[in-house]
């Protein structure tokens, strides 16, 4: 039965090829965008989760300001954290170790080229080096990490060494950071995080002099003692700092985050962006649906006589409705199917382009659910758009319809 309707519908669509193709464009574009956005967004979330899991769940991040801006992001706040806070935190129960980092965006010159990169000024004592070593972002591939006694030495990220400048930066090369020459003593392993792979690490004392920051920190990385619950420790740190600063709960001018929160925080920001973009793409799908409705109305008008004939040979109103719902649904479905294909290609293209730019954490994640969901949704939008035209078709007076020339 449905197969027979399909034949009738398909033969009609074939006859109006150009119009049918134009009609599916709206849905096609919308679904393309949605598929690309969702698969890239999901891929990004997965990648970020994986990246941060390399930090380990026993870490707590303390930074100035009410909002966490990312491990090496700049803080838009006048609030500060300094050695006094570091000592406070070190004395909180369950804290094993606190590292203070200073991070700045800085001008890096190599050869004739000048670029901007994140510079992380980190302590060089063996405890700090050991802790940073345990974090997947800071694994040295070639050479060594900066160590005690180093002054104008740096270890640099993988992509910064390989791709940032026309000439590759080699071990023992000198790079110019904010007018000061540093010798490269180590090149990090590729971490997959674009931020860390394009970063320079220098000793903290040198960094303080260079940037003119005598006592503040950009962030603390806190390691929690084995057996302590990071969530409880984080809460204790918060309370201690709040008391010290005479602040009410909820009014903190600093933030204390668990690794897990950082992941979900980044995830939330991504989802919001993703939802906004998908919302825009959905408008295209709605416009596509209106296009289908319009085309189906035209088709109903053009096929008036045929509708009369179908009724004359025994088609019930129900059959007529189904036929035009199928017609509209197919327009949606074909648009959706092409959209899925095109969206997949687009997502893969973005993935490749991003990888070329060094951001190879971006992987398109296409699930069967996403594909099937898109197809069902497209068919649904099409069929829904066909409801009014289909009802119009079914209500047609047979004698009038059949008397059309």
């Amino acid at each position: 039965m449905i197969a027979d309707y399909l034949k009738f519908v398909w033969s009609g669509l074939q006859k109006r090829k150009l119009r049918s193709w134009l009609t599916i464009l709206g849905i096609l574009i919308g679904v393309t965008a949605v598929i690309a956005l969702i698969s890239l967004g999901n891929g990004m979330n997965a990648a970020i989760g994986e990246l941060f899991s390399g930090i380990g769940n026993d870490k707590i991040f303390v930074s100035p300001g009410g909002m966490f801006m990312g491990p090496t992001g700049e803080m838009l706040t006048s609030a500060k954290i300094d050695d006094h806070d570091r000592e406070l935190i070190e004395n909180v129960r369950g804290v094993e170790q606190v590292i203070g980092l200073v991070t700045r965006q800085a001008k890096i010159k190599f050869g004739e080229q000048t670029k901007y990169a994140s510079v992380v000024a980190a302590p060089t004592d063996s405890d700090t080096v050991k802790l940073l070593d345990s974090i997947s972002f800071y694994k040295v591939g070639e050479g060594r990490q900066i160590k005690n006694g180093d002054r104008f030495k740096a270890d640099i990220g993988f992509n910064l060494a390989r791709d940032m400048f026309d000439k590759e930066v080699q071990l023992s090369d000198n790079i110019d950071i904010e007018g000061q020459m540093f010798q490269v003593v180590g090149i990090q392993e590729k971490s997959g995080s674009p931020i860390h792979d394009n970063m320079v690490r220098i000793p903290i004392d040198t960094g303080r002099e260079l940037f003119g920051i005598p006592d503040e920190y950009s962030m603390f990385i806190v390691k929690v003692k084995e057996g302590s619950d990071p969530a409880v420790v984080a809460e204790n740190i918060k309370e201690t700092m709040r008391d010290d600063r005479n602040l009410d709960a909820g009014k903190e001018d600093f933030s204390v985050e668990l690794t897990a929160n950082v992941i979900s925080g980044v995830g939330t920001i991504l989802s919001v962006v993703q939802i906004a973009l998908i919302g825009i793409a959905s408008i295209s799908i709605i416009v596509g649906g209106i296009g289908i409705m319009n085309t189906t109305y035209t088709s109903v008008t053009e096929r008036t006589k045929e509708i009369g004939i179908l009724k004359a040979v025994g088609a019930q109103n129900r059959d007529i409705v189904i036929i035009f719902l199928i017609e509209a649904g197919i327009l949606g479905l074909v648009g959706g199917a092409l959209g899925v294909a095109l969206g997949t290609v687009l997502a893969k293209a973005v993935e490749l382009a991003a990888a070329n730019l060094g951001a190879d954490i971006l992987k398109a994640a296409l699930s069967p659910g996403l594909i099937i969901g898109s197809l069902v949704f497209s068919f649904g939008v099409g069929a829904l758009s066909g409801v009014l035209p289909a009802l119009k078709a079914a209500k047609m007076n047979i004698v009038e319809a059949i008397s059309r020339v």
Binding site: M1, A3, D4, K7, F8, S11, G12, Q14, K15, K305, E306, G308, I309, L310, K311, A312, V313, G314, A315, Q316, N317, R318, D319, I398, V399, I402, V405
Partner: protein, 236 residues
């Protein structure tokens, strides 16, 4: 006494358009018996098509009763009517009225689809019917690849597809040259007789009505004369 296949009782059809009333049928009563070969004749605008549409369940009377096969179908719902129409009635129109995007064989299959007849059975029946109308070589052709006479043959095959009680033909030769028209008339009467169908032909052409055993003449929406085998039964 024979039971009528179709019986109209005091049927009126009045079209109302912007205050103007057109009475297309005025108090029409008639009986059509199984196996009848009837010709409805009358001048243009006399209400022949309207009468056929009501008898063929394509339209409802404004007043009066329409009885098909002993059932009063005046009160049937739309979908009940559609079922009865699909099963018991076949149409041949002046304009052929084939679906242009479907082949000859698919057009013949169409009425069977709505009776839920399985695909292979439909194909067999369509092939057989197209064979009977002499079109076995045109099965896979689209209507616009066929001559008018060939198209009307497809329409005849389609009208017979569900083995209906009655076949209605509204000016079936109106779009054909006289030679082809005669062939189509012959084919229609021959097939109806062979399959024992009741056949109602509408025409305003008295020549075509020659030799048809029963004639209903209408004028201004009223039956003015009924003739059977040359004998006039009713006159007004």
């Amino acid at each position: 006494m024979l039971e009528p296949v179709i019986e109209l009782k005091n049927v009126w059809k009045i079209y109302e358009m912007d205050k103007v009333k057109v009475t297309a049928l005025e108090d029409v009563s008639l009986k059509i018996y199984k196996g009848d070969f009837i010709c409805i004749i009358g001048p243009s605008g006399s209400g022949k098509s309207t009468l056929m549409h009501i008898m063929g369940t394509l339209d409802r009377p404004t007043k009066g009763k329409m009885i098909l096969n002993n059932k009063d179908i005046s009160s049937y719902s739309e979908s009940e009517l559609a079922q009865v129409r699909g099963k018991e009635i076949g149409f041949v129109f002046q304009q052929f009225n084939l679906i242009p995007t479907l082949t000859a064989s698919e057009n013949v299959e169409l009425p069977m689809i709505f009776q839920n007849i399985p695909g292979d059975e439909r194909k067999k029946k369509a092939k057989d019917l197209l064979n009977q109308v002499g079109l076995s070589h045109r099965m896979e052709h689209l209507p616009n690849e066929m001559s008018g006479g060939e198209r009307q043959r497809v329409a005849i095959a389609r009208a017979l597809a569900n083995d209906p009680l009655v076949v209605f033909a509204d000016e079936p030769t109106g779009n054909l040259d006289s030679k082809t028209g005669k062939e189509i008339m012959l084919l229609l009467s021959h097939l109806s007789e062979k399959h024992g169908k009741t056949l109602v032909i509408v025409t305003h052409d008295s020549d075509l009505a020659e030799g048809i055993d029963k004639k209903i003449r209408i004028k201004d929406g009223r039956i003015v004369e009924v003739t059977r085998d040359g004998k006039t039964e009713v006159t007004r």
